[in-house]
Subunit: 143 residues, 2 copies
């Protein structure tokens, strides 16, 4: 924790959050876990954004040190590390949803290839079903 | 617009938004405008995060090119550029609010100096009053 102190640019609530998770990759790792239920290094590395393995390693370590994710080995597979979101990570869902909605409305004009939104349910129920789906997934994994 | 194409890492809605506004400074400029109604280079540069002037210049240009902000001179002051959020920028309020709520709950443990939240009204009315307040401010400025 003490090594993090120097990271903070100011006492601003917004800036402090960005200082922790505002880099180019952290939220995409959370996205891969929360929305696509990815859980291994191998799965993260295959994402379309083609993150460099050293960057991915460092971001996973950082997210783990912030307790946004946990790393563990399962008794059924002692070789591979399994990464799961904590509740702190799962609670990034509303932020990610707002990013999706703003992007769908305003960024599409700049990126012709952008995926379309499949779900047309309301925001709040989509957030809750995503979070509940992820919690059920983690229960299934760690058992 | 075409020069932006190369910026996008993938077709993901979330990654594309981060490719445009996910750098270390853009959201803090939007914060300064939306929450503190700052409107000049001089005002932005005095923020606690002490952004370097060349970085601030480049981010203002970038936000202007994305039409998240406008730059104009007022008839009452022909020397100074006045920066105002467009509706596209004002609609980042829900995203910023989610960042505030998550940070207040989970980042505080890492930054002892973090500001406390003053407002305890509900999220949706705080977003709307912030946006309406900013719209009224811009009307007052440009008249």
């Amino acid at each position: 924790v003490s090594s993090l102190k120097k990271k903070f640019r100011s006492s601003c609530i917004i800036a402090s959050a960005l200082d922790l998770i505002g880099d180019k990759w952290s939220l995409l790792i959370v996205r891969d876990m929360l929305l696509f239920q990815k859980k291994t290094f191998k799965e993260f590395v295959t994402s379309d954004e083609k993150v460099a393995t050293n960057l991915l390693s460092s971001r996973l370590k950082m997210l783990e040190s912030l307790r946004i994710i946990t790393k563990q080995k399962l008794s059924s597979n002692k070789k591979e590390n399994i990464y799961l979101l904590t509740e702190k990570g799962i609670e990034l869902a509303p932020l990610i949803m707002e990013l999706v909605l703003w992007s769908d409305k305003y960024v599409r004009a700049y990126n012709d290839n952008m995926n379309t939104l499949e779900n047309e349910t309301d925001k709040q129920s989509l957030i809750i079903s995503t979070q509940d789906g992820y919690r059920a997934f983690t229960q299934q994994i760690i058992q």
